[in-house]
Amino acid sequence: MAEAFTLRISDELAEEVRALGAGTYPDECCGALLGREDKESFGAASREAGAKDSCTSRSVMGLFPLVNRRDDSPRNRFSVTSEDVMEAEKAARIQGLEVIGWYHSHPDHPARPSAYDRDHAWPWYSYVIVSVANGTPLDVTSWRLNDDRSEFVPEGIEIRSRAEAGR
């Protein structure tokens, strides 16, 4: 049985994701989630089973906003180049973190991954989506692509105060 995934994020960073989505509306925003896996969260069942992805929770410690390179269709598409990915990874390393996922917005669409999102996704990463309706940020959700690429698995979001998040 698959173990539930959890993404921990401070209320401050969650609000920042919402603000970034609102700020680029009606275009999609995008950027990297910088953080770390929560080592204490390796599930016992996963360890015993030797599951491929045995860490069930991770914490977002920062954001790395990026330019949406899809200037041909920014209202319903985003793109982060390999060079941008390397920049994000460098920024994460400097802070002793790693890139644990990506965020983007869905202008006037629900915060659910599309078929296009799935077709272009990587496993392991957390994909945070913020829905923005008429410039107002609404739901924030997070997802992980499953091993056979057939679907995204929802990832629970645990919002903590800044003090609890350890920042």
Binding site: F78, S82, H109, P113, H120, W122, Y125, D148, R149
Partner: protein, 94 residues
Amino acid sequence: MPVRVTIPTPLRSYAGKLDSAEFSAATVGEALSQLTTRFPDLRKHLFNDEGKLRSFVNVYVNDEDIRYLANQSTPTKEGDLISIIPSIAGGCSR
């Protein structure tokens, strides 16, 4: 020719948690083929159903994108570093 292939973070769980692996290969294609033979679960994330590299999978030989060289036919020499670097894409509608 022994070459090293780096494995990006999102794929390491399918490669025994390795961040790189070494193969004897004369081309990028040979190296990737050996990579996915050793770690079969990588294949679906690197290649589409037609056996082509997925658009968001970027492969470099040292610092050069193979798209500007000879793609998977790019020859390799001893000591070359083949890097698999993600790009990220998505969007709200089909």
